[in-house]
Symmetry: C2
Subunit: 143 residues, 2 copies
DNA sequence: CGGGATCCTTATGGATACTG
DNA sequence: CAGTATCCATAAGGATCCCG
């Protein structure tokens, strides 16, 4: 029979949802800025345009692969510009585009919120953890 | 000898970097809001407080595991409140805390930027892809 | 109803080696 | 110098079953 099972319905919902997410501007943006390295690259380039190797040194801990990948997607999205000077050895300069600069500004707002409110978040976290631990102890005592 | 190799130095940098990231408020926040479901839960709860199953239906495509996990971390961070009514069956209500409401407002700013600028991003992306494809064709012709 | 526990698949990202 | 290509470990997330 053509009865739709729960899992089928969930699957459908999931597919529809994914399609919705793909086209959603907010999630497109979020998946971009949530990237581990995008924020670092953006703020580094906000200070001044830089070469590939400069960025590699500036952003300690980034692997070549990730730096390249991050720069590529940012370039693809029109957020940074890539300028190749065909000397020997080659020289490649990266800079923010106007759009990228605009995003960097938004980033500042996010950063500001974080710095203003993070303490409260950390405190809430500590309270939560302390309570959870108390629960565990109470249960052990009861056994 | 005590010569530090390149990989050792990278490893050190990476460790120091990770420690830096842990304490960095901005990245703490970013890792929170970049979560696939946090945005959806926040906007759903911004409309009105809701029960667990309401949220599950409202946010199509979310698995129980992810919904629970998202709500737990949000509760832990003091962004949503969880209220249990010990009836049979139990009833659990979720709502935004003032801090959570404040974050939801920040979210609106992000959303606004996305909606205003996403078109330009998409266009840039299409230009980039078209150019990349042209490159491929040119190389095939040369062979 | 509101989850917890478990299994399993698929992304993500780092290390390494090589190249024009 | 500025990458590319490949391999591999880990973690994120979904499906499923079970429980008070």
């Amino acid at each position: 029979m053509a009865t739709t099972t729960a899992s089928q319905r969930r699957e459908e919902a999931r597919t529809a949802y994914n399609a919705f997410m793909k086209g959603c501007p907010t999630n497109l943006l979020l998946s971009r800025i949530s990237d581990k390295w995008v924020g670092l690259v953006l703020s580094a380039l906000k200070e001044r345009p830089q070469r590939y190797s400069d960025l590699g040194r500036r952003i300690a801990g980034v692997s070549q692969k990730m730096l390249t990948q991050t720069l590529r997607t940012l370039e693809r999205d029109g957020l940074v510009s890539r300028t190749v000077t065909p000397s020997v050895p080659v020289r490649v300069d990266y800079a923010l585009t106007p759009l990228g600069a605009s995003l960097a500004t938004l980033f500042s707002a996010v950063k500001e919120w974080a710095e203003e409110n993070i303490e409260e978040v950390v405190e809430a976290r500590e309270r939560y953890d302390a309570e959870a631990e108390a629960q565990v102890r109470a249960e052990q005592e009861a056994s």
